[in-house]
Symmetry: C2
Amino acid sequence: MPRNRVDGVIASWSHNCAAEVTVAVLGGAWKPVVLSLLGRNEVMRFGELRRAAGEPTPRVLTRQLRELEADGLITRTVYAEVPPKVEYGLTECGRNVQPLLDAMAEWGRDYAADVRRESAGGGADRENDPGDAAGR
Amino acid sequence: MPRNRVDGVIASWSHNCAAEVTVAVLGGAWKPVVLSLLGRNEVMRFGELRRAAGEPTPRVLTRQLRELEADGLITRTVYAEVPPKVEYGLTECGRNVQPLLDAMAEWGRDYAADVRRESAGGGADRENDPGDAAGR
DNA sequence: CGGGATCCCGCCGGATACTG
DNA sequence: CAGTATCCGGCGGGATCCCG
């Protein structure tokens, strides 16, 4: 059970926010995409997943998948045949994270829209003027 | 408007999941803690924030705060007095992210509990047995 | 008090090449 | 097809010291 990756984070969130655990689990370069793809496709083969995710290099995708597997979010099923065939799917934990992932995606979209808006539209910069705050 | 940090991520989530934007914004080492602290305290000074977060090094905390500011989540108010006084607070965007942060924290807690459970309790490992899957 | 300057290092992600 | 092996640059985070 090589869950050592997130273990450090889990161990030290006494004063930390538990959200850091979530970031540690979902924070890989291709993990959100992979999870959302598997959320819609039940099972996917390696190449299929790779193409759909946007052609990450095999090495990187492999590691992302192994980490997600070690963290208990996805399953990996190897079929002993030639040519090789490996199928990836979601565990229950992986399915449980979908609503959260959706919420994160929604916020991300809204945030990106905000950024675009203020980049394009006139910069309505608000200045903080402490002014008379020279107390003490 | 140095929002260049997340701009790259925002620009390239055509096939990606928008959740990556969220990770890019909240993905710093001390960002979740800072945001949740500011969510409960309205305004906080640098040292106050530092102690409450768990004593990160000033340099690191400063950068986290600058990034959050550049990303539009927090405000930074400098009072021109001696000794120096700087107060941090949430922008509207920073307040909007609180519910999501809570959801992430909740999932993180549940996940950590799951991990602890299966580490302690007997490993109820489920094996995948493709068995008769040698099709084609 | 609230940082900035400098140095360091581990890790993450990508490119390229090779294989059972 | 589904990876593995090797090399590499960048940067995120920490330690330590110094400053207005």
